[in-house]
């Protein structure tokens, strides 16, 4: 993995160049946000559900070893093989070994962010193991050799015409198809034979239930239930933070998940796996990969509450106008910006700055993660660790000095007001002012609060002040 900071702003600018893509992306995500709002408004218990979900996750995270042990014991009793992986590399070796033990070489896989996080395809394919993504969006991204753009809709940055071109190349369909139905049908027809011949099925999972040793997979296309059940070998990969204590707790999370994600009451398939099918074998791999370390971070551990609904992405004005690819990571958008730096602080140092601090992500989060506050805290951490670029750092330092000295600040402000009023556009809007690239600078004010206060309040007798107030 390259260590170079992801040039988020530059990549976003490139994405914005094409008007149809920019427009569709923004509208599509906002539509998902509005559909979420519609669901929220018809449920008076919405805020109570969020509170309950948050408290359940916080409790589970605070007692993670206990619940992991309980899950493992119950899953083993049900006949599931439970594996533990410290990191992505170990996870990939476990998968390779399971396939080797069975003499298998083809994986049919439903969408899971965590196998992308582990870079599993990149590891297995050179070893002669084929991995076929069967989720439509994830398949499009696989064929185009790109990371998912979004945790729920991986190819949301693409238009029908883009998909038609990709499918023409790999599925030999007409490159000029402009009907999504025809393309979805092409995927169904291409996937069926692969599904029927795959020797190993892989899924991710949304929840692990400690009480019963089950795991739950929430999907829409039906490909996960096919991938898991067609072959006799099912491997499921989940992060250790995916636990809930009791079966009854799922009620809270299932009611929130798809409503927050897409605005639908539930996913088309909510699948509960408790033991291997008759004649089959089932493996669950529990992955740490930095999670135990993140759990120890006072400011950032609550990011582990995330249930990957993508609501924060749909609402984020920066994400909507920059596209998932610009984050250079498996996890993009606001949630990506607060968890990616735990994987690589240098590479993802730019992401916590991809926010306007409007706080909308925090407001829509179904498990109440204080996302925008963590974005702010990451900026501080990264600045302290010198992980932000020279120019930004120097400007921040100058601003810091300026803001720390009231007299100098006032002098600078009056200078700025004069400049905004009198300087020509070319002097204000140039490459030294990236902020002004797509925005207008604020209108200069006639008078600052400070100068008004000095004139009207300071050193005036109380009676006179009250008079002006009345």
């Amino acid at each position: 993995m390259s260590n170079k900071p992801v040039p988020h702003a530059k990549l976003a600018a490139e994405f914005l160049k094409d008007e149809p893509h920019r427009h569709f992306h923004d509208e599509r995500l906002w539509d998902m946000r509005q559909k979420r709002d519609e669901q929220m408004h018809i449920m008076p218990e919405w805020q109570e559900l969020r509170e309950q979900a948050s408290r359940l996750k916080e409790h589970t995270l605070a007692h993670l070893p206990q619940y992991l042990e309980q899950f493992e014991e119950n899953a083993r009793r049900n006949g599931i093989h439970v594996h533990w992986a410290r990191d992505g590399a170990e996870h990939n070796r476990i998968v390779e070994q399971i396939l080797k033990d069975h003499g298998h070489s083809s994986i049919i896989k439903s969408k899971s962010m965590i196998t992308d996080e582990c870079e599993m395809r990149e590891y297995l394919e050179p070893k002669g193991i084929s991995v076929t993504e069967t989720d439509l969006g994830e398949r499009i991204q696989q064929l185009d050799n790109e990371l998912p753009s979004h945790v729920v809709v991986p190819a949301v940055q693409k238009l029908t015409t883009d998909v038609a071109k990709t499918f023409a190349k790999y599925y030999h369909t007409d490159p000029d198809i402009d009907d999504p139905h025809a393309l979805a049908e092409a995927q169904r027809n291409a996937a069926r034979p692969v599904l029927l011949s795959g020797d190993t099925g892989m899924t991710g999972g949304n929840f692990l239930v400690a009480e019963t040793g089950s795991f739950v997979v929430c999907t829409n296309e039906g490909n996960a239930d096919l991938s898991a059940n067609l072959p006799n070998l099912h491997i499921a990969t989940l992060g250790i933070e995916r636990l809930v204590p009791r079966m009854a707790d799922l009620g809270v999370f299932i009611r929130l998940l798809s409503r927050s994600a897409l605005g639908s009451p539930i996913t088309q398939y909510t699948t509960h796996f408790r033991k291997p099918k008759k004649g089959g074998e089932m493996h669950v791999i529990l992955v740490d990969n930095g999670r135990s370390e993140r759990l120890g971070m006072d400011d950032f551990w609550t990011s582990l509450k995330c249930i990957r609904c993508g609501a924060c992405m749909n609402t984020c004005p920066v994400y909507r106008r920059s596209g998932g690819q610009s984050y250079g990571s498996v996890y993009s958008g606001p949630i990506g910006a607060i968890i990616d730096p735990t994987f690589n602080a240098k590479k993802f140092s730019t992401l916590p700055f991809a926010s306007t601090m409007n706080g909308s992500c925090t407001n829509v989060c179904p498990v109440k993660i204080d996302i925008h506050e963590q974005l702010y805290k990451w900026r501080r951490v990264l600045a302290e660790r010198h992980e932000i670029p020279f120019v930004k750092r120097e400007i921040m330092k100058m601003a810091g000095r300026l803001l720390a000295q009231p007299a100098m600040y006032r002098l600078a402000i009056s200078g700025t007001e004069v400049a905004l009023k009198t300087m020509p556009r070319f002097a204000l809007y140039n490459y030294l002012n990236p902020w002004g690239k797509h925005r207008e600078l604020p209108h200069p004010v006639k008078e600052t609060f400070h100068s008004w206060y000095k004139k009207n309040r300071l050193n005036k007798p109380k009676a006179q002040r009250e008079e002006t107030q009345a």
Partner: protein, 201 residues
Amino acid sequence: MSDETMSARDVIMQRLKAKKSPQEGAHPLPPVVTLGDQDASPERFEASLALMGGKMLPLQDGEGIEQAIKRAFPELRNLCTAVPEVEGTLRIEDLETHEQADKVDVMVVRAAFGVAETGGVFLSEVELKDHLADVHLAQHLIVLLSKNELVGNMHNAYQERSEFRTAGYGVLMSGPSATADIQGVLIRGAQGVRSLSVIWA
């Protein structure tokens, strides 16, 4: 012991136990809640099912279940059945290969229960006679559901239905397979069944 000699499990457990935050005592286990509308009426189920893209298949006067299915699917050749009420052209227990199931036009199953809030129907290895993948390979699905086997919402489902603790595989199907992965266009009938119809029976 170093990381090399310890098992991955022990290393992860040790890392987790060594952490000081979050504090165990500060986050007690919240009691189980039952929130929101608990109406378990067939009317609510029907409305939710429609929202999820599923259909009701009401029986016409004097019509049997099998007749209704044939009326809804006039082109029907392979009707696979997992219920005694329907004879069909083959029984689910007789499917020998997945390729055979891939050619099934319509599959008929009985759901253990339904969820009024979501229009979901619960199917497990019991109802599917251990043919877990075959139900998803069929082109269309007909689900028989008793009005007496409805729960109100998902809280009720997880608290009241024992199937979540007994089934090895349990899927709540809420409408047919669907995708909106290409330019946000909602397509009913993605990779699993193309349609899902419920008959009160």
